[in-house]
């Protein structure tokens, strides 16, 4: 379930952890980096690798919003839905995305290209409305800009 590469990456992270528990989030981040999301089987594999139970790993995993326990598309669009972006009309961005991709919050396009997820304030309030695609921040958005942007993600 876990490739040797992932295992050695986790091992490297674990080596500085004073407790086994402390390695959970790091390990999950590594697995997610490689696979995009974390399936039940991978939770099990991580648990086994760290000498923990699935309950111990998943209890932590399900707390955090940036650990994806369901499949996501190749590209994840995080749409800031917090107050400054709300004032500046993030809902229009969301409508636009629905028009362009046919999906809303929590959904993935049938071709597995995009997922759209809500995110708490991206810390880019001066550029509201803002979104983040695969870790890149885009601010001062409007529908034209959005349309062009999406073209960069295959």
């Amino acid at each position: 379930m876990l490739s040797d590469e992932i295992k050695s990456e986790i091992q490297c992270g674990v080596s500085v952890c004073p407790t086994r528990h402390c390695a959970i989030l790091e390990a999950l981040q590594i697995v997610q980096k490689h696979h995009g999301w974390i399936s039940d089987e991978r939770i099990e594999a991580v648990a086994k690798f760290l000498g923990l139970t699935v309950e111990e790993v998943d209890g932590v995993a399900t707390f955090y919003n940036r650990i994806y326990r369901k499949p996501v598309g190749r590209h994840v669009i995080l749409v800031c839905d917090s107050v400054s972006c709300w004032i500046m009309g993030f809902e229009n961005i969301l409508d636009e995305l629905r028009k362009l991709l046919g999906i809303g919050f929590g959904e993935t396009t049938p071709d597995g290209r995009f997922s759209v997820l809500p995110i708490q304030c991206l810390g880019a309030c001066e550029q509201a409305p803002a979104i983040m695609i695969d870790g890149t921040l885009y601010g001062y958005l409007d529908s034209d800009k959005l349309k062009k942007l999406l073209g960069n993600y295959e």
Partner: protein
């Protein structure tokens, strides 16, 4: 006007690298601290500077540092954490500082670690701050290479390891004790404040936590002295502050200004005033979890005490502006939905009360409000207040609602009476 924190970089531009930072005097304070100042000297400097924590609560930094137990017989390792989680809606100041001058933060951390005798440091950063994280990582590498971090720093015998910890997401992780749980790989549930983290924090060891902006001030205090630092400010709290403005203003952004600059000045001179055709209706002066201030408060100086006197909290010093064509009920609904989603689920009033609050607000906004809902909201504001919940999240969440009910009551009533949102 001096702008020690931001003077050497352009917001949104390229960061200062190590050479650039050193060229403008970077790591001088570090050298000075480690080589020629005692721990007590620095502690005194920080105390005298009247620097207060920039993370939201405004706790005097010197006082917090001195609550670290003495090094003798102390359990080890001792930890220092920079809180770079910045998820308070409306806040983006720490990002600017980290993206623009990551070494400034690292230098602050080194001096702080030296002063409180910590040997392991963490920068706890939210995962969406990818650019800042990359820059910090690079800066950490550079600092290690140059001997500012690691073993026997600058030949002084002082050691410090620094690690960037990338969060897996959740607003509550920014709360100092929840953050500790998160680093330990647990669910980010806040901890009880006895014992204090400085006595028993990360893995049960003495742990000091400061906000990014707080720490960025430290090199300047060491370089220029406490008196200079106090002199930067227009009030008794020392230093400058990164103030931010978002919402429908002409020029949203952030600026380093003296502590105690008035809201009006920030809004009108720096943010360029309201966009054409819009009027100022209110502001959350210190981020999402602070009370609304309105027109009558525009001349309030932005410092901890004055904002409190005006009926709100200084918080992060980043204001969100409500204009006269945006629905206050909708805005509060957005805020409460946020807080309700970010409740950690540990204590009853927050876990259950916030979703209920959000549902009531949604109903009102949708024209399905009932007159008794206002009473229920009042009741919720009381029941989620300080002391009632385990941590400060829920009381913070109630602040904008409480003040909205006070200042924008007619808007709530209009929604309920007209059975629709008058702005839609």
């Amino acid at each position: 006007m001096e702008k020690p924190l931001t003077q050497h970089f352009v917001i949104g531009g390229e960061p200062l690298d190590l050479a650039g930072y050193e060229k403008v005097g970077g790591y001088e304070a570090c050298r000075k601290s480690l080589k020629s100042l005692t721990r007590d000297d620095i502690m005194k400097l920080v105390k005298d500077s009247n620097l207060r924590g920039r993370g939201g609560a405004g706790f005097p930094t010197g006082l917090k540092w001195s609550s670290m137990p003495s090094s003798q017989n102390s359990p080890r390792p001792r930890y220092l954490i920079a809180d770079a989680d910045e998820m308070e809606p409306g806040a983006f100041k720490d990002r600017i500082l980290m993206e623009g001058n990551p070494h400034q933060l690292i230098e602050g951390l080194i001096i702080c670690a030296y002063t409180v005798d910590a040997e392991i440091g963490f920068i706890f950063i939210r995962s969406e701050y990818t650019k800042a994280a990359a820059r910090i990582n690079k800066a950490i590498r550079e600092a290690y290479e140059k001997g500012y971090l690691g073993f026997n720093i600058l030949g002084t015998g002082f050691n410090l390891d620094l690690k960037l910890h990338i969060s897996s997401g959740r607003y509550i992780c920014g709360e100092g004790t929840a953050l500790t749980n998160s680093i330990e790989g647990h669910r980010a549930i806040p901890r009880h404040k006895a014992p204090r983290q400085t006595e028993s924090g990360l893995w049960g060891m003495p742990t000091l936590l400061n906000n990014v902006e707080t720490l960025c001030n430290i090199p300047h205090v060491v370089n220029n002295g406490a008196e200079w630092f106090r002199g930067l400010s227009k009030c008794k709290d020392g230093g400058t502050k990164i103030f931010g403005v978002s919402g429908k203003v002409r020029n949203p952004g952030c600026w380093e200004l003296p502590m105690g600059t008035t809201i009006r000045e920030i809004l009108e001179e720096h943010a360029g005033g309201m966009r054409d055709g819009l009027k100022f209706r209110g502001t959350l002066p210190g981020g999402a979890s602070t009370d609304f201030l309105v027109e009558q408060h525009l001349d309030t100086p932005m410092d901890y005490d004055s904002v409190q006197k005006a009926g709100s909290r200084f918080g992060t010093g980043t204001m969100i502006i409500l204009d006269n064509q945006t629905c206050p009920v909708g805005m509060v609904h957005n805020l409460e939905s946020f807080f309700s989603r970010e409740s950690c689920g540990w204590c009853t009033p927050c876990r259950e009360g916030l979703p209920w609050t959000a549902k009531i607000l949604a109903a009102i906004e949708d024209g399905k409000g009932e007159p008794r809902d206002i009473d229920t909201l009042d009741f919720l504001v009381r029941s989620l207040g300080p002391g009632r919940t385990f941590c400060a999240l829920a009381p913070g969440a109630m602040e904008p609602l409480r003040s909205a009910l006070k200042f924008f009551r007619e808007d709530f009533d209009a929604h309920i009476k007209e059975k629709r949102c008058p702005w839609r």
